[in-house]
Symmetry: C2
Subunit: 223 residues, 2 copies
DNA sequence: TCCATATTCAATAAATTTATTGAGTGCTTG
DNA sequence: CAAGCACTCAATAAATTTATTGAATATGGA
């Protein structure tokens, strides 16, 4: 094969790969991906949670769209964005390699969050659910619970968790999960639960990880 | 948790993730990763193959190093770089998602390479090797064969393949593999082999993919 | 029809990334 | 110890990315 032609091919090919890489090269876009991994959301809602102006969020979403990482659905005046199939595993790989290779990640987590004890792994949770010897709380905002949750989980947004405590059984361990390994909802929930005398731990990972591992996910309202 | 504190945590956390993302945001760096996936190499050698100046290659390697994707070993006057554990799966995920979501990738491959027939998958290759009903050629440069190859493969750099043809058996299918799904060495080998009357196909993926799938890899010289 | 709202677009300035250039460092060899 | 080599460093200009701003578009309801 003609070397010039071969070089041009590689150049163009890796330009394409870099298109995708460039989409991952910004903290705000990665945060949007993490939010979208929980289910589709409107621009304004994403902007508010990621602390961006609406115009800026819209631009970042367009970059993600051009890279094939998100898709858009329009409903009336709203634009709902969601992750494309396959986008989550890439984000997961990046997130996990960052934890493994960049010591600063671990340092940040340890210095900011006061996590105590070992978290529950996906496999262990699956076993516990089968045995029925644990109560599972989904402590994400209700909208995300409705978009997809672990079967058997109780919707319990952290803000409303307090009101829910009296209805929880005291004999078994309470397990709380949220968006992912760096989401603090579950940590806050565990802190509150322990303060009230519950035996509580957080799930190590989040709902998207549960789904990606091949475990079942249920949609809709109610526990 | 104090919302300001929480936001700062997320900001810093996603800044770290973006550190890694930014390292993937450049075509030349991705090409360096692909080359390093075949085994360690010196700066000068990488620069030559990726068509970069030595200084520029060195800078890109430092960016990859800062992101934890590569590590360095010094030997005399040479600096040998290699991928860190876990770096390849991330590159693999990005590469595969790009193929899946960016139509331009497929278009480029089809318009540039004249691939005919279906390639051999990893599983099929493993089966064929067990049965012994195929000849396997590693058509990468010898240095890469020595750094790691599929057990039973014959070293056969494309440039020297012609001289090797007479010694190949004619009854069985010949399978050629190289660096990865977009590496053209195997395509060139298959083209030559078919022109000479051999029954030949390429492996769909490359050696790093074989290794990452958990199959054994052998180091050193000789078949 | 008019208005409010959600989103996108376009223009701009600031910040960051990139390739190039030439000098600097350190090791090995004659 | 001088020279050659592999690599890194530092400075620079060009290119790209980013956030902000205000205007434009489009939809649904008053």
């Amino acid at each position: 094969m003609d070397p010039t032609r071969k070089r041009r091919f590689k150049q163009q090919l890796f330009d394409q790969f870099a298109r995708l890489g460039k989409a991952l090269a910004n903290n705000h876009r990665l945060e949007l991906i993490e939010l979208l991994a929980q289910g589709e959301r409107s621009v304004e809602s994403l902007a508010r949670e990621a602390d961006l102006s609406v115009a800026n969020a819209s631009q970042h979403l367009q970059v993600l769209h051009a890279a094939g990482l998100v898709e858009q659905r329009r409903e009336g005046v709203f634009a709902y964005y969601s992750l494309t199939p396959g986008a989550f595993p890439l984000w997961q790989a990046l997130r996990d390699l960052a934890r493994q290779r960049l010591a600063e990640v671990e340092r940040l987590v340890e210095s900011t969050l006061e996590r105590e004890g070992e978290p529950v792994g996906l496999e262990e949770l699956a076993r516990r659910l089968e045995h029925g010897d644990a109560v599972l709380l989904d402590v994400r905002p209700l909208r995300e619970f409705e978009a997809g949750h672990i079967p058997g989980a109780i919707p319990a947004p952290v803000a409303e968790l307090e009101a829910l405590l009296p209805s929880l059984p005291r004999g078994v361990e309470v397990i709380a999960y949220c968006r992912g390994p760096y989401c603090t909802f579950a940590d806050e929930a565990v802190e509150l639960l322990r303060a009230r005398g519950f035996n509580a731990r957080r799930l190590e990972l989040g709902l998207p990880d549960w789904r990606a591992a091949g475990y079942p996910v249920r949609q809709g309202v109610g526990a």
